[in-house]
Amino acid sequence: AAAGPGGAERYFTRWYKPDVKGRPCEDFCVLQHSNRRVGWGGPGEICVITLAEAHPLLQSGKTIKSINYQISANCSRLQNKVSGKSKRGAQFLTELAPLCRISSSDGEEYTIYSCIRGRLIEVNENILSNPALLQQKPSTEGYIAVVLPKFEESKSITQGLLTRKEYEEVLLKRCDSSS
């Protein structure tokens, strides 16, 4: 018997961003936690950036060759260091800030984007040592990054993204157009 969305994913709401940067089916899923502090100037809700089920990397036959958190000459997401409750020192992310680049064995390259504005808390180092994790458990242990938006930005996050229902409609349209 399966439980819910249960376990670690309980208390998260799923938001979707399909076809990021116009690239077909490169969809992402942002898991937004329900816990928040109250008040302006404070933090919003913790968000986990993951691949949505339609992403090419999660389709059968794809093997991941490498995952690289060095997104430019000057910026490695692995060097992100936060301190204190307010997560000082965090790299600031905009919606289209790259988190990492993933190459598959068939020569394709995919960029994973933040999808939301906020402070980068951590990137998942477990997928560096075990890339298969990303494909086996994309919604939990295979997550890409944890981002913390500001309280004021929380609303704009959910406004820029699709609900599960809306995303399913997108998926349906894709099926229809391809058939």
Binding site: A8, R10, H33, N35, V38, P43, V82, V146
Partner: protein, 531 residues
């Protein structure tokens, strides 16, 4: 007056002339006899006059024929010709004229003292004592002793300085030197006088360490501006402080007075200080009892009860809370203003606390009642337990503030035991989970759980699971009993928190695991003492 000596004479003379009350005069002469200050003001005035007259008599040994000697006597404004006014020659003393070469003195009795502004005058009288005690009695506090604290308007320090400088000047002119050291502090003298009266009226002793405080704030708006000149003379003493209304606090004024030079002081402030028109006002008479501490252990039987009230955006999300259910009765019985609840760790809303419960302590602020027998505490415990089935308390007792430290020690050092109901995605057989029972001292690395990461720093915690014991239920469920180090996140150990707690039950069983229920079985802190 045997406490006064020859060298005090000019001081007494000057101060009496310039409108200072008898008790302040005694202070300036360094008279340390508490009893003396308690004499009625009228008597003290008489004694001072006698003291001065004696000097006069020494000088006037020639005037025995009844002619009016130059008078140095002070006349009470209120009284007319009474027996007091007759010298031992039977001749009526006259009010001295201003032309009198021996420095005419105006009647200063009946006037408000230019140094203490009436504090050592009317505020030592029975009427005021009665007023204070009335306030205390109507406030309905339980107490066995009291401490009386007094807040004086800052300009008193300024006036004291001015009067002192006048005395210094006079003594210099007469060729004497004067040390400041033996001036009796106004507050001290005031307490000498008023403590015994309060003590008598309230029926309990005055004790500096008492937890029951009666406080009075005195103000004298008429002279409030007298401190202001210090701000121009010593600006760095008067920085605008965040919460204070006036920058001219007692401390700031005293500091400035230490810094300012005598010449500068005298430029800005009259010496001797002027006689005020009115007495001080006693603004507030307040009572406060020191906090009492009640400790115990609580059990939590609800999976829908937060520790503290859960209010978001002004809306209460869940009814009641552990602290409210326990404190409600205590607040009512102890008649306190407010409370502070703390416990040795805490559990989530959906977690029960079983076994002998979790230690807690409640600080009751400004309680009206403080004495409770063991019997009464037992009944109080029963009342709390009867009022709710969501929580139960035991070992309810009064403790000291110091004892709270023991409870907080426990939070970081002591072990806890739990019982978790676990679900697995793939089927398990009995033999699949028995190995858990053999694992001892399992070291975990737990990153700050995602569910608290918004308000806690990102860190990795090493925690130890000392022992585990599994109970097979069916192919997808088992119960796990664990004994862990304090500060271990159990839920995250079960579901793995996106792989951020390692190892976890999922990784140990090679499955996806979820926690359906969690109970605290014991909190291994041996405080408070079991009753």
């Amino acid at each position: 007056m045997s406490s006064l000596t020859e060298k005090d004479r000019p001081v007494v003379q000057l101060l009496l002339n310039t409108g200072t009350c008898p008790r302040c005069i005694l202070r300036f002469c360094g008279v340390g006899s508490q009893v003396l200050y308690r004499h009625p003001a009228k008597d003290l005035m008489k004694d001072l006059q006698e003291f001065l007259k004696n000097n006069q008599e020494k000088e006037d040994t020639g005037c025995l024929d009844g002619a009016d000697p130059p008078s140095k006597r002070i006349r009470l404004e209120q009284t007319q010709e009474g027996p007091d006014d007759v010298n031992h020659n039977g001749v009526l003393q006259q009010v001295p004229s201003m032309n009198d070469g021996n420095a005419a003195m105006e009647s200063s009795a009946g006037k408000v003292c230019n140094v203490c502004l009436g504090i050592l005058q009317d505020f030592c009288e029975t009427d005021f004592v009665k007023k204070v005690c009335q306030k205390v009695n109507s406030a309905d506090y339980q107490f066995t002793s009291f401490v009386f604290s007094v807040s004086l308007p800052p300009q008193l320090s300024v006036r004291e300085r001015a009067a002192w400088l006048g005395v210094k000047q006079e003594m210099r002119n007469l060729g004497f030197s004067l040390a400041k050291d033996d001036i009796v502090q106004l507050k001290e003298a005031y307490k000498w006088i008023i403590h015994p009266q309060l003590s008598e009226e309230l029926g309990v002793p005055a004790d500096g360490k008492s937890l029951f405080e009666v406080s009075v704030v005195f103000a004298h708006p008429e002279t409030d501006k007298e401190c202001h000149f210090l701000a121009t003379a010593c600006p760095d003493c008067f920085k605008p402080a965040k919460n204070k209304q006036s920058v001219f606090t007692r401390m700031a004024v005293i500091k400035a007075l230490e810094k300012i030079k005598e010449e500068d002081f005298l430029k800005h402030f009259p010496c001797p200080p002027s006689s005020p028109k009115k007495l001080c006002d006693a603004l507030e008479i307040q009572c406060n009892n020191g906090a009492v501490f009640v400790a115990g252990r609580y059990n939590k039987y609800s999976r829908n009860l937060p520790q503290t009230p859960w209010i978001i955006d002004g809306e209460r999300k869940l009814e009641s809370s552990v602290e409210e259910l326990i404190s409600e009765h205590l607040m009512a019985e102890f008649k306190a203003d407010s409370f502070n609840f703390s416990s040795s760790g805490r559990e989530d809303v959906d977690v029960r606390t079983l076994g002998n419960g979790r230690p807690f302590a409640i600080e009751l602020v400004n309680p009206r009642r403080i004495h409770f027998t063991a019997e009464e505490m037992k009944r109080l415990q029963q009342a709390i337990n009867n009022s709710s089935d969501k929580i139960q308390v035991r070992d309810l007792q009064l403790v000291t503030r110091e004892a709270i430290g023991r409870m907080k020690e426990g939070e970081e050092e002591k072990t806890k035991t739990y019982s978790a109901l676990i679900w697995t995605d793939r089927a398990i057989q009995r033999e699949d989970i028995t190995f858990l029972d053999d694992i001892k001292e399992l070291k975990l690395d737990q990153k700050t759980p995602l569910r608290v990461l918004h308000r806690r720093p990102l860190a990795v915690r090493c925690r130890v699971i000392h022992t585990m014991r599994s109970e097979y239920i069916d192919e997808h469920h088992f119960r796990l009993h664990l004994k862990t180090q304090a500060g271990t996140y159990i839920k995250e150990f079960v579901h793995g928190d996106f792989g951020r707690t390692k190892p976890n039950i999922g990784s140990l069983l090679n499955r996806t695991a979820d926690i359906l229920e969690l109970d605290v079985e014991s909190v291994d802190v041996d405080w408070p003492p079991t009753l």
